[in-house]
Structure formats: structure tokens, C-alpha cells
């Protein structure tokens, strides 16, 4: 079995894991990041992409509010490529809790979160889609963040500084000796081979899976899995982030992101993070609730739904997930008699940097290394890894660099052949057996109205042309890609998406027989003959 040696092993390639890899790399400690599926495959990719101003938490969690305010300001300054500084509104409609509205300003002031009341008419001029039943509106400093670009840029810098990362690497076992993890055994899901990693310190940044991973090391964390579903609209509904001015509930936030808007979030407690997927019932309840704030959400075309799991670390006995602290948990498993094992979980996308900083501080303390954190002041350099996730970049780049052979393969988001090639090249040798899904994660491919219905087939042909896939591999990739998109597509199938889905099935099943096993039967005799 192949054994890789490294100082630090980071488990999990979400915002925290990639942020930690960068933080440590900047301190001169390169590490190995191992991810079970792909970058941001968990909650880091399954959230609003909201850069909190803090106003959302002023009532429930003043400490979080302050952290968000500080970290939001840092990110706007240091990672502007990942942020769209949209600004935000908090609005209340007839029937919302008047006491909450009345207290809002003073609560914001208490946490130093900038917020000021604006005239209702002005609010409706800023965002004409707002309901005419508005009764209060506040302006805040929310923004939108592209979590994929954020993680990829973090990862890119850590790799540039000597770090390594592995996709499709599933942790299967820890071997412990003397109260330390000596060796971590992985399954390479691309090749089916096992390999091991020996590290001085193992950091568990697996988000919702932190409890499961910790259990492998014999440590215990009590985690509540709270699944949250969100909906993506075909169009960008508002310019700004719009929050419902009330005690946190199911469909309070509409976040614009490039050419679309994201609406959510529900909170449903589930038994295992692997069971997380958006449901029809959640979709319906989100829309039925949100239309009071923005009526057009009732009739607009949705592109798809998606879900992520919030890992809520239980401190005591608590019922509803929203009342549990959303502050992150940094656990030194020395308490469980595993000296070189740290878990970082919980928290928010907005505070990922702070989480990485605190974790790196703990790592350095354990290593006895004296190195200061620099991510508070060092800009996050934009990378080619992350650039294709930006909505609208595909068409703009294609128009700028016109090249007769550069055909558009994804019509919805106008991602061209050259763009696909650039993405695949950037993945290096690690595209493994999910190259099409990996392209989808690293670009806008499959994220438009067709949801992979047309682009999937075109890109598969291109992958064959370029020799990235061979034999039946491309077909399997296509099936798996379309299957994956279906998780988010199936909950929103009514109206126009239903028409699109009908066309997609007519193509993939009616015309191409892709639901069946390959027909290599040479028996031409008839059953009734």
C-alpha cells in the first residue's frame, strides 16, 4: 500500500478545509488535503452564498453577529473576486411580528452592525418586486459570495505554496497507537485502491461528517444534522440580498448571485448527513412562505433546488436546531485521549477564515511552531481554478476571445470548448471517474435552464474527442452527471421546468435509451417465434 507522509492532514475540502490549508501554507506549513468527493461537495457548496453583515443574528446570537460583521468586512477587502457587494435589505410585511421590528435597530446598534431604516416607498423603488404589503424596511451591508470560487482560490494558493490535495479519497480507517493517530487509511474511489497517510496532526474539517469521522478515531461529538433546502431562480430577481425581518424561519432570504437568485432556507433535522436532499414538500413550503415578501416568487421559473447540512454541535440538550449556537466548534481531541487530532466544525461560510485561523493556531501550538496568521491582512489571490464558476464569465470570455473553432458546448450559460479544456487541464490528473460532474462544479455547465439536458451530451462528445474518456466511460459519466442534476431538478418540476424535464427524458430515455444497460445482445430470434 502506498504511504504518503505529510506534517498535517486535513480531512474535508470545504471552505474551512481549504481555508485552513491556505492559512497553514502561509505560515510555512504545507499540508495534504483529502476530500471524499469534490471541493465544496458538502455544506460549503450547499448554502445561500450569503456574506452576512451580521444583522441576521443580532436577535439570536450577538457574538455571531459581531464575528460576521468583522469577517464580512475582511473578505470584501481581501477576496473581492469572490464577493459581489450587493448590499441588503431587511423587510417586514403585514402580519410580521411588530415587536421584533421595533427592536431591530437597537439590536443592530448593540452589536455594532450597520443598519438604518428606509422609507417603504424607497425600498420598493430599490427592489420593485417587493410586496406592496411592506410595513418596514432596513438597509444593511449584506453581500453575495461565490463559495466555489472562494474554496478553489484558497486551495490554489495552498497548492502554489507546496500543499497537495486529493479528490475522491474516502477515509476508511485510523490506526491509533499510544493516544495518537499514526496512520489514516483511504480508499481512492477513482481506482478502487487503498493508500495511507502518515501525519503529525490530523484535522477533521469534514463539516456535517465530523461526528462520523471523529468516531473512527474513537472520539465523540454530539452533532445535530439540520438539512436546509434552497431554490435557484432562472433570473436574478433582486439586485440586493433581501431578508425577511422576523425571527428566523424557513424562507427568509433571497440572495442574488450573478444571473440568478437563491431562495431559502428550510431547516429539517435528519438522521445522517448522507440523507440530505431537497424535497418537494420543502420546495412548496419555501415558495408559499416567501411569496408574501416577494410575490413574483410564486410564478417565476425555478432552475433547481439544492440542500446542505448544517452541523450543529450540541452543547446541552436542545430541541429546535435554530436555537443551537451557530458559532463554530473547535475541539482538541486530547479530551478524548487522541492527542494529535483536532475537529473544526459548525460555523458559517462568512466566518470560514476565522475558523481556519483558530484551527491553525491550535495546530501550531501543538507543533510548537511559532508562526503568526496572515490571512487577516493578506489578499486572497484569484486563481484560474476558480474563475469559471463566475456567472456571465463564460459568454464574456467567449465573445472577447473569438475563435472560429471555439464552439459553445453549454448553450444556457455559454461555456465554450476552450473553457472546458481549460477547466479539465486545471484539474490535472485528478479528474478520475467524475470528470463531467467535476466540470459542472468548476463552471456554470449544467446550471442553466436545461440542467444538463443538452450540454451533457455535447460535452460528453467533446470528452471523447479529446481522449479524456474511452469505451463506455463517457456514457457512464453522462448518466451519473444527469443523475446528480436530477436531485436538484426533480423537486421543482411543475410549469416550465416540467416541460424541460419532459424534453430531457424524451431525449435521454425515449431517443437514446440511456436508462437501459448497453444493448450488446446479438440474438435476433423473436420471443414468440
Amino acid at each position: 500500500m502506498k504511504v504518503i507522509e505529510t506534517r498535517i492532514l486535513i480531512l474535508g475540502g470545504g471552505a474551512t478545509g481549504t481555508g485552513l490549508a491556505r492559512d497553514l501554507a502561509l505560515r510555512g506549513i504545507p499540508c495534504l488535503l483529502a476530500e471524499r468527493r469534490d471541493i465544496n461537495a458538502g455544506a460549503s457548496g450547499g448554502n445561500h452564498g450569503l456574506l452576512h453583515s451580521g444583522a441576521r443574528y443580532v436577535a439570536s446570537d450577538a457574538e455571531s453577529a459581531i464575528e460576521c460583521r468583522e469577517e464580512g468586512a475582511i473578505l470584501k477587502k481581501l477576496a473581492p473576486q469572490c464577493i459581489e457587494d450587493t448590499g441588503g435589505l431587511f423587510v417586514a410585511v403585514e402580519g410580521d411580528d411588530e415587536k421584533y421590528i421595533a427592536d431591530f435597530q437597537s439590536m443592530c446598534d448593540a452589536s455594532d452592525v450597520p443598519a438604518h431604516e428606509i422609507d417603504i416607498r424607497e425600498a420598493r423603488e430599490l427592489e420593485p418586486v417587493l410586496s406592496d404589503k411592506l410595513i418596514a424596511a432596513y438597509s444593511v451591508e449584506d453581500g453575495a459570495v461565490d463559495p466555489f470560487m472562494l474554496s478553489l482560490d484558497n486551495l490554489a494558493q495552498s497548492v502554489a505554496l507546496g500543499g497537495q490535495y486529493l479528490r475522491n479519497a474516502k477515509l476508511i480507517d485510523f490506526s491509533k497507537d499510544n493516544g495518537r493517530i499514526q496512520r489514516s487509511t483511504f480508499l481512492d474511489q477513482t481506482t478502487g485502491e487503498q493508500f495511507a497517510v502518515e501525519a503529525e496532526i490530523v484535522v477533521n474539517a469534514t463539516g456535517a461528517w465530523a461526528g462520523i469521522v471523529a468516531a473512527l478515531a474513537g472520539a465523540h461529538i454530539n452533532i445535530l444534522y439540520s438539512s436546509g433546502s434552497l431554490l435557484i431562480t432562472q433570473d436574478r430577481i433582486t439586485k440586493r440580498v433581501v431578508n425577511r425581518l422576523r425571527k428566523a424561519a424557513d424562507s427568509d432570504i433571497l440572495v442574488p448571485g450573478g444571473t440568478v437568485s437563491v431562495l431559502g432556507t428550510t431547516s429539517v433535522t435528519i438522521d445522517s448527513p448522507d440523507l440530505c436532499r431537497p424535497s418537494v414538500a420543502e420546495t412548496n413550503s419555501i415558495i408559499e412562505d416567501a411569496r408574501a415578501m416577494i410575490p413574483v416568487l410564486d410564478t417565476t421559473r425555478y432552475i433547481r433546488a439544492y440542500a446542505g447540512v448544517r452541523p450543529l454541535v450540541l452543547l446541552g440538550d436542545s430541541g429546535d436546531a435554530r436555537n443551537v449556537s451557530r458559532n463554530f466548534s473547535l475541539i482538541d481531541h486530547a479530551r478524548d485521549d487522541v492527542d494529535n487530532f483536532i475537529t473544526i466544525t459548525g460555523g458559517k461560510l462568512t466566518t470560514y477564515r476565522l475558523m481556519a485561523e483558530r484551527t491553525a493556531d491550535m495546530v501550531c501550538a501543538k507543533l510548537g511552531v511559532d508562526a503568526k496568521c496572515t490571512t487577516r491582512t493578506e489578499p486572497l489571490p484569484p486563481s484560474t481554478m476558480g474563475r469559471w464558476t463566475e456567472p456571465g464569465l463564460g459568454p464574456k470570455s467567449w465573445i472577447q476571445n473569438r475563435d472560429a473553432d471555439d464552439l459553445i458546448l453549454c448553450e444556457c450559460e455559454m461555456v465554450s470548448r476552450n473553457a472546458i479544456n481549460a477547466i479539465v487541464e486545471n484539474m490535472g490528473g485528478m479528474h478520475g471517474n467524475s470528470i463531467l460532474k467535476a466540470i459542472g462544479m468548476r463552471s456554470r455547465v449544467g446550471k442553466g435552464p436545461c440542467q444538463g439536458g443538452f450540454c451533457g451530451l455535447r460535452i460528453t462528445g467533446h470528452l471523447y474527442d479529446e481522449g479524456y474518456v474511452s469505451e463506455a466511460k463517457g456514457i457512464e459519466e453522462l448518466q451519473s452527471f444527469v443523475g446528480r442534476r436530477w436531485r436538484g431538478f426533480s423537486p421543482i418540476l411543475w410549469g416550465l421546468p416540467m416541460v424541460q424535464a419532459d424534453l430531457q427524458e424524451a431525449l435521454y430515455c425515449g431517443a437514446l435509451d440511456l436508462e437501459l444497460h448497453d444493448d450488446d445482445d446479438d440474438d435476433f430470434t423473436c420471443e414468440d417465434a
Binding site: 471523447y464 474518456v469 418540476l493 424524451a506 425515449g510 436508462e515 437501459l516
Partner: protein, 421 residues
């Protein structure tokens, strides 16, 4: 509002396979026919005529004999629309339909009793009942595993010869592929435009000159379906003569040329039979008059008109064809607001896996009919003079059972027969 004073015998709603077939069969019976419908199913078809290919869906079992497959399916799904038809009727319907296509220059070919294998642009193989003559040699090549060259083009997206070779090479040796420059036009290419260009015999000659150097050790040459719009058979014949090879077409992904070819045949042929076609227009409303006949509102805006007809055949298709509509809670029928048999709520419409063999329950939703193909409400025909045909019918999943075109043509045939009495 334009008013047409003619009282038609039958209004055919829909211009897909079922609508076209219904208009054809009704006019052949001497009925005065008017037809509406926009671009839809037929324009996106592969050009293959499936009759029945898979049953039970759960097992994904393919059948060589479509007739045996129909018998098996009807046994397990007694309400399947095929249960309303005899084998002779189905065969007569398909033959009449393909005869009409042949008279208009689009021959269809197949084995007499069994399904043929056909290549799809994904590289998969599907079984179908009748294929266009221009694709037939592909079936022969595939079934005999003869050495074959797949040609594809710079600039034609979604069609990769390499993909065909890679997916099929395991048990079809002697495959190869070549990517060439189309002799007329460069940059981004579309099948319809390429087909237009091939109307010029000089372009055909250049095309053959491009591929000949790659043809040494093959018997068959497969092209994406671009070989001519109105006269594909002549184009193929000329290419065969010039190259000395067997030439065939493989359908492309939409928008392909197969649909426009079929549509062109009906656009030419139906008016000759006296059918009045209100193409690209949708029925927006319907009213039942005192004498039992229907008055339809057709089209919108300045082009709106009314049409009177003594009876109607509803062949408006499913969701893509706009025959069925879905809102967040239920599926409804778009023209007559007929009752739609459907799963309880949206949670049950679709399965968790897209490619689940069982097939999504909502695909079995649709209009339930009596043995005369009249839509039912609580077991009774909604109107004596309203019939339904094609994909809108309940208790079938044409996409998974591979019975789309056949079912459409056969039920249209039966509906016209029932109407004639």
C-alpha cells in the same frame, strides 16, 4: 378576429406523430379536416418509428418482437392504450402511415416481424420497428458487424465519431472515424444548413473526395443525419455511386434534420389531401355549440380566429407538446380541462433516481379513454364527439417502453375509425 365559416368534420389538435397521423387517416376517409399545432414532438424525433421495445420497465427487458412485447405489456397493464387495438389494426395503421411517407419521398424500412437495431448519436443501440431508408444500412452494418467508418465534422456539435467508435468497439471490430471539414461553410454548423448545402451536387462530390482517402478498408460509411432535406434518398444514392461504399445516416441530437424531413412531408402532403392546416397555431379555447359541435378559438393576437368542427381528436401530446400542464399541485389537460389520471401529489410524480428503471409515475398520467378512445370522466365519455390519441393517453410510458410513434399512429388510426363509426 378572423372567422372561418366552414364547418369541418373534424378538428385535429396537435401536429406531432399522432396529430399528423390523425389528419392523414381522417382525410383518407373523406372527412373534411382542419389541423392546428405548433412545433413539437415530431420536430425533435430521431425519425425512428418505435412500436414496442421494452417490458417490463423494471427489468429493462428489450424485445426483438414488438408484437410479443405488446402482448406482454397489455397483459401486465390491461389499461395500456395498445389493449384497445388489435394487431391487424396496428399493422394497418403503421403501413398506411409509412406508405404515405414513401409516396412523398421518405421510405421507411425494417424487418418484417422483428425490431431492428439502430445506432443513436450517443453510441448506444436501440431497438425500433421502422427506420428511414437512409439509416437502414446502419442497421445492416451494426447487425453484421461490418467494417465501418463514422464521419463527423469540425463545427457540428454533439456528434462525435470517436464516441461511437469507443462505445461500440468492444464487440464491433473494424470501426474507425474521421473528422473532416464540411465542404461548404465552416465555424459552427447546423444539420439543417448542411442539408441545404448538400442540395448542390458539387458539394456532394467534394464531400466524397474528402472521405475517400479514409475509406480503404471499410464497407460502410456512417454520417450524421445531414444528407439532404427534401431528397435524402437521392443524396445517399449519389454518395454511394461516387464512393462505391454503403452510406447511412445516424440521427443527431435535436435540432436534427429527421424532424424537419417528416414535417416537410406532411406540410406538402396533407394540403393535397384537402386538410386545412393552421400551422404554428394553438387552440386557446373551446365552446360546445347547441348542435353538439365545437367552436375553437385558435391563435392569438391579430391572427386569432375561430374554427367550427363537428368532432375533434385531441392529439396535443404531453408537457412538451403543451397537451398537459403541471402546476405545483396537479396535472391538468390544457384544451378541454379533461380529468387527468395522476399520482396523488407532486411528491409521487418522480422517483429519486432519474434513470430508475421503474419509470417516473407521472409519465403514466394522462387521459383515460373508453374503447372508442373517447376521454372519460367518472367512467362516462365527456363528449360523444371527442377522441384522444397519442402520448396524452394514460397508462403508458412511451419513453421507457419505446412505443412513442407506434402508439401515436395506431391510436390515431383507431380514433378515426371510431369516429367514422
Amino acid at each position: 378576429m378572423i372567422k372561418d365559416d366552414t364547418i369541418y368534420d373534424v378538428m385535429v389538435i396537435g401536429a406531432g406523430f399522432a396529430g399528423m397521423a390523425a389528419a392523414l387517416f381522417a382525410s383518407a376517409q373523406g372527412l373534411k379536416v382542419v389541423q392546428t399545432g405548433a412545433t413539437g414532438g415530431i420536430d425533435f424525433s430521431t425519425g425512428f418509428i418505435d412500436l414496442m421495445g421494452v417490458h417490463p420497465m423494471e427489468e429493462g427487458k428489450r424485445w426483438n418482437s414488438p408484437w410479443a412485447a405488446i402482448d406482454a405489456a397489455v397483459k401486465d397493464y390491461p389499461k395500456h392504450p395498445y389493449a384497445l387495438l388489435k394487431r391487424d389494426e396496428i399493422a394497418e395503421a403503421i403501413d398506411t402511415f409509412t406508405d404515405f411517407l414513401a409516396q412523398n419521398g421518405l421510405d421507411y424500412v425494417g424487418h418484417s416481424e422483428r425490431n431492428s437495431r439502430a445506432l443513436t448519436p450517443a453510441g448506444t443501440v436501440k431497438r425500433t420497428y421502422r427506420v428511414p431508408k437512409t439509416a437502414w444500412k446502419g442497421t445492416l452494418a451494426l447487425e453484421s458487424k461490418a467494417p465501418t467508418l463514422f464521419v463527423d465534422f469540425h463545427g457540428l456539435k454533439g456528434f462525435s465519431g470517436k464516441q461511437l467508435v469507443e462505445t461500440r468497439k468492444r464487440n464491433w471490430p473494424g470501426l474507425k472515424t474521421v473528422r473532416i471539414q464540411f465542404p461548404s461553410g465552416s465555424g459552427e454548423l447546423y444539420p439543417e444548413h448542411m442539408a441545404w448545402a448538400l442540395a448542390d451536387p458539387a458539394v456532394r462530390e467534394k464531400l466524397v473526395a474528402e472521405i475517400l482517402p479514409h475509406c480503404d478498408d471499410v464497407e460502410y460509411v456512417g454520417f450524421p443525419a445531414i444528407l439532404g432535406l427534401n431528397d435524402p434518398q437521392q443524396v445517399v444514392a449519389q454518395l454511394e455511386e461516387l464512393s462505391g461504399k454503403h452510406i447511412f445516416e445516424i440521427p443527431t441530437m435535436p435540432p436534427s434534420i429527421a424532424g424537419p424531413r417528416l414535417r416537410a412531408v406532411f406540410d406538402r402532403g396533407l394540403p393535397v389531401l384537402g386538410v386545412r392546416t393552421l400551422s404554428q397555431k394553438m387552440v386557446t379555447g373551446v365552446e360546445k355549440l347547441g348542435d353538439g359541435s365545437f367552436q375553437f378559438a385558435v391563435g392569438s393576437g391579430a391572427a386569432a380566429s375561430t374554427v367550427n368542427a363537428k368532432s375533434a381528436i385531441l392529439a396535443s401530446g404531453r408537457f412538451f407538446g403543451k397537451g398537459l400542464r403541471a402546476d405545483r399541485n396537479s396535472v391538468s389537460e390544457a384544451v378541454f380541462n379533461l380529468p387527468v389520471v395522476q399520482p396523488g401529489n407532486r411528491d409521487e410524480w418522480h422517483l429519486h433516481e432519474f434513470f430508475d428503471h421503474k419509470g417516473h409515475p407521472v409519465n403514466m398520467a394522462g387521459i383515460e379513454v373508453d374503447e372508442q378512445l373517447r376521454p372519460l370522466n367518472a367512467g362516462q365519455p365527456v363528449h360523444d364527439n371527442l377522441y384522444a390519441a397519442g402520448a396524452i393517453l394514460a397508462h403508458q410510458d412511451w419513453m421507457r417502453m419505446k412505443c412513442g410513434a407506434g402508439l401515436a399512429i395506431a391510436t390515431a388510426f383507431k380514433a378515426v375509425k371510431a369516429m367514422k363509426g
